[in-house]
């Protein structure tokens, strides 16, 4: 699109499953008539001969020869509609036309404003009550969100966040946490084909103020604050960023059950280690939210038992290598590791980074590593450059220590741990939103 | 038997040395603070009292209605009584439950089945109306009720009380998927479809409320909990799969509507493929499992077609490859507290456990039988993604039987 502005006529080629998305993006950029041509899905992992067949074949969205679409896009004269771009103000109303409760629940669901579960309807009275949970004024801009770096930012106010907090079933005292998450700029509804979710860890006194649960069932449906704050983050993400609609603003092939809610407090009082926020330089008395982006794999184990090193290595070798791990351990496990000499989280993280290994061949045979890391490797950026220079059968380390995090949570009925895909994307102050 | 004699050691016992455990025996009872062995010996020798001789006998009846109150107070009551999953529910008014009951031809007072949090607890019974109440709470519609009744009738709970935080994942096959406009495409495992979301949720709510509860430290002991417990349902993408649907593999007609229940949800391994290094990737994923919990493989249709191109023209052929390649050393296999539960079977000579026990510690052994592994096709074809989720097939129920 930048090339068009530079005066260079261009055609963009995509795979056919993305036609609706491409049209929507072009429209949002003010260039709905941008020339596009489509090949069949997938392109990934097809041979040269197969890709040549796509080029010699038909655009699956128009059934005309693919190269004809390309050449037409470069050669056909512009029409009236091409010469004006589109220009429009999208304004979002404050209130919705009055209707019955049943009709409104149905409307919210059909408009894709919910997560498909029942919501608390955001009446003026409920939103006003929620707004009492913060000292910030209703019209203050909280921040911006977008489904992906390729789409435009949408903006929103304290009041708009309150509306979504009410819908989730949250209470006014939870509101500062929800505002902090909204202000982070990280969407809990990424539109990536990868079906990412966000996992949020809460630290500091707010956990006890809100009676959050860091014990038995911490990651389950057993605590009102854990459940509704996590849910509010999801709902506000989809509604304040411009939507999360399958085939439009959501392209995750499999989806992710963590998207309903995935938020928990660290069991600081029962942990032998420093809490996450203190590791990051905050005071213990500060209340902080850390947002991890991933939720794609979740490896499980017990330990540390006699064979703990083999178990850990296997778990680390089975990760998706572009998504670094967040290790969530029950206090029993943490104490077990302290007994083995890992008296700080950092020492165990170093061990994990030394033992997260795979062959160079396997490392590079991954579409996301190809997209994201290969250009950096080619440009000489470490550690990617060395990983690229390695021979196919060389065993390489796949994570830096700074990419791995550990959090302690659980009810001590079992020495359980989870190694979850989660790259730390933001750390935000909850106190700032009281 | 409320007066049954008990004595308590500190936690954990798992993975502690003999000397450490001896320390427990010589120390104090963790609850009473008195010497542990004193509690044990008194329990065996102190004379019985009056209260010991009459056991307790009582009828627990559950009322049909809750005391009337405002909507806000009722939402709070349901939450405080732990009758919800902590998210807002639809209050089960008489009107709503009556409407829900129209979704089935079965009478409201027909017994549907029994559920219990674990095999060590008593099973509770419930009828069609009680299931309808929980279906309303979840936000489900009357047309979903046959699916929800089928899940309730299975005898498999979605709220296991195990210290391993299990979840139960239903897979849905047959025409019901399209009748209810379920989603098998983009975002299938996400918050993008009313039927997928509320049916899964209803299964969770009815499990906790109809089995006698799911209360932390009482009827729920999962140390870390499981986010899949909120809702987790997969309708198979039969029309876009190159393979037989799950229910047809089991001998059902394609036109039968069936629910299969997979118990696990504990690990989730992820990948793309099949790419050039697909075998290595698969072997890594299979070696990183929790060996007592076999995998349910959920793959996007792009992945399924990729495997067909590699020669796996049936699910069975791929399952056979997976079973051949799910390998651990015998030492690692047995160094797992849940596998230790299988040890008695091995000692009794039952296969395949007996052979796994006879293996030398460094021998590499197969950890699953093909019959334990299942494959389901679902996804929106925007990416060749797959998930390997812990899931042992625990129950199969006919949805048609509950229409």
């Amino acid at each position: 699109m930048g090339l068009e502005q530079d005066g260079v006529p261009s055609v963009a080629v995509h795979t056919h499953v993305f036609k609706r998305l491409c049209n929507a993006t072009a429209l949002a950029m003010g260039m709905p008539r941008l020339r596009q041509a489509y090949v069949p899905q997938p392109v990934v992992d097809r041979s040269a001969a197969q890709l040549r067949a796509y080029i010699d074949g038909q655009d699956p969205t128009t059934h005309r020869p693919f190269m004809q679409e390309v050449l037409d896009g470069l050669l056909s004269p512009l029409e009236e509609a091409d010469l004006q771009g589109l220009s429009f103000e999208r304004t979002t109303p404050r209130l919705i036309e009055p209707a019955t409760e049943d009709d409104l629940q149905r409307l919210f669901e059909e408009n894709h404003w919910t997560d498909s579960l029942p919501i608390v309807l955001p009446t003026e009275a409920r939103v006003e009550a929620m707004l009492k949970g913060t000292s910030h004024p209703p019209n203050e801009i909280v921040g911006k969100l977008r489904p992906t770096a390729l789409r435009e930012w949408w903006e929103f106010t304290v009041e708009k966040v309150a509306v979504n907090a009410v819908m989730a079933g949250a209470r006014p005292e939870y509101f500062p946490v929800i505002l902090a998450l909204a202000s982070s700029g990280i969407s809990a509804r990424s539109s990536s084909t990868n079906s990412f979710a966000t996992i949020t860890v809460i630290n500091g006194p707010i956990r006890n103020e809100l009676a959050m649960n860091s014990g038995i069932g911490v990651m389950g449906p057993y605590n009102h604050a854990n459940a509704t704050i996590g849910r509010a983050y999801g709902l506000l993400s989809q509604n304040l960023q411009g939507g999360s609609v399958p085939d439009d603003t959501y392209m995750g092939s499999l989806g992710n059950w963590l998207a309903y809610t995935a938020l928990f407090p660290e069991a600081e009082e029962r942990s032998p280690w420093q809490p996450l926020h203190v590791q990051k330089g905050y005071k213990p008395t500060e209340s902080v939210a850390s947002i991890f982006f991933g939720g794609w794999y979740s490896h499980a184990g017990y330990g540390p038992r006699a064979t703990w090193q083999e178990k850990m290595r296997r778990s680390l070798a089975a990760v998706e290598q572009y998504s670094e791990p967040l290790l969530v351990v029950d206090p029993i496990v943490a104490r077990g590791f302290v007994e083995l000499g890992f008296d700080t989280k950092e020492k165990l993280i170093d061990w994990c980074a030394d033992n997260a290994l795979m062959t160079a061949r396997e490392y590079w045979d991954n579409q996301w590593i190809q997209y994201l890391m290969r250009p950096r490797a080619v440009a000489g950026v470490e550690p990617y450059a060395s990983r690229l220079k390695a021979k196919s059968d060389d065993v390489i380390k796949i994570f830096e220590p700074s990419e791995i995090h550990i959090v302690v949570a659980g009810g001590e009925t079992q020495g359980a741990w989870k190694l979850m895909s989660g790259s730390l994307r933001a750390t935000v102050s909850i106190d700032a939103w009281r | 038997m409320p007066r049954l004699r008990q004595a308590y050691t500190p936690h954990p016992v798992v993975d502690q040395s003999a000397a450490h455990l001896r320390g427990y025996i010589e120390g104090n009872d963790a609850i009473s603070g008195r010497p542990f062995m004193q509690e044990v010996l008194e329990g065996l020798t102190s004379p019985l009292e009056d209260a010991d001789i009459t056991g307790l006998s009582f009828e627990r009846t559950t009322p049909r209605f809750v005391e009337p109150d405002t909507e806000e107070k009722l939402q709070r009551l349901f939450e405080e009584n732990r009758w919800t999953d902590m998210l807002p529910i639809v209050l089960p008014t008489e009107e709503r439950v009556a409407a829900m009951l129209k979704g089935t031809s079965h009478p409201p007072d027909k017994i549907v089945g029994r559920l219990r949090p674990t095999v060590f607890r008593e099973a509770w019974e419930f009828d069609v109306e009680k299931v309808a109440v929980n279906a309303v709470m979840a936000g489900a519609r009357p047309e979903y009720l046959p699916v929800i009744l089928a899940l309730a009738s299975s005898g498999v709970t979605a709220r296991s009380s195990s210290t391993t935080s299990f979840a139960t994942i239903p897979v849905i096959n047959g025409p019901i998927r399209n009748e209810l406009a379920m989603n098998t495409g983009i975002g299938v495992m996400g918050p993008y479809n009313h039927a997928n979301a509320t049916i899964g949720r209803a299964y969770g709510l009815l499990s906790q409320n109809l089995q006698g509860g799911s209360v932390p430290n009482e009827t729920y002991m999962g140390s870390q909990g499981n986010w899949y417990a909120y809702t987790a349902v997969i309708p198979e993408a039969e029309e876009r799969s190159p393979w037989q649907p799950l229910h047809v593999q089991q001998g059902y007609k394609p036109t039968d509507s069936i629910a299969n229940l997979f118990f696990g949800g504990w690990y989730t391994h992820a990948g793309y493929g099949p790419r050039a290094t697909w075998k290595e990737k698969m072997r890594h994923a299979l070696a990183a499992v929790e060996q007592y919990s076999p995998p349910l493989f959920v793959m996007d249709p792009i992945v399924a077609r990729g495997f067909v191109e590699l020669g796996f023209d049936t699910k069975e052929k791929l399952i056979a490859w997976l079973a051949d390649n799910a390998l651990l050393t015998a030492r690692e296999y047995w160094d797992n507290q849940s596998i230790q539960l299988l040890r008695p079977k091995a000692v009794a000579g039952i296969e395949p456990y007996a052979s796994r026990l006879k293996a030398a510690p460094d021998d590499v052994i197969k950890i699953y039988e093909p019959s334990e592994i299942h494959i389901v096709v679902a996804g929106g074809e925007t990416q060749g993604a797959w998930k390997m989720i812990s899931g042992a097939l625990r129950g199969t129920a006919s949805i048609d039987a509950w229409r």
């Binding site: 530079d6 260079v8 771009g85 979002t92 309807l121 009446t123 997209y371 | -």
Partner: protein, 96 residues
């Protein structure tokens, strides 16, 4: 008759969209330079090479050049400037 209630709209505020013009088209490609831009996605390099061969076989009078941005998903201004300087048209593949 069930009571009617008023509730808030949960959506955020979209940015104002300003329309943009498309570039004028070419009358013919013979003798022109067409840049084949590799978007750096997986296997795109193979696709671009196949495209280049297609032009070589079918439209040999078109001068094709391959360009790659420095990294994915970001606007490479240097690359755009180079294309604008001596390119007459561009084909970008494969976007998604």
């Amino acid at each position: 008759m069930p009571q009617q209630i008023t509730v808030h709209d949960p959506r955020g505020y979209a940015p104002k969209v300003v329309g943009k013009r498309l570039a004028p088209r070419l009358s013919a490609l013979d003798g022109k330079t067409v840049y084949l831009v590799d978007c750096l996605f997986d296997n795109t390099d193979v696709f671009i090479e196949q495209l280049r061969q297609w032009f070589a076989e079918h439209l040999p009078a078109v001068n094709t050049r391959i360009a790659r941005p420095e990294k994915t998903w970001s606007d490479d201004e240097k690359m755009r400037a180079a294309i604008a300087a001596d390119g007459d048209a561009a084909i970008l593949a494969v976007g998604l």
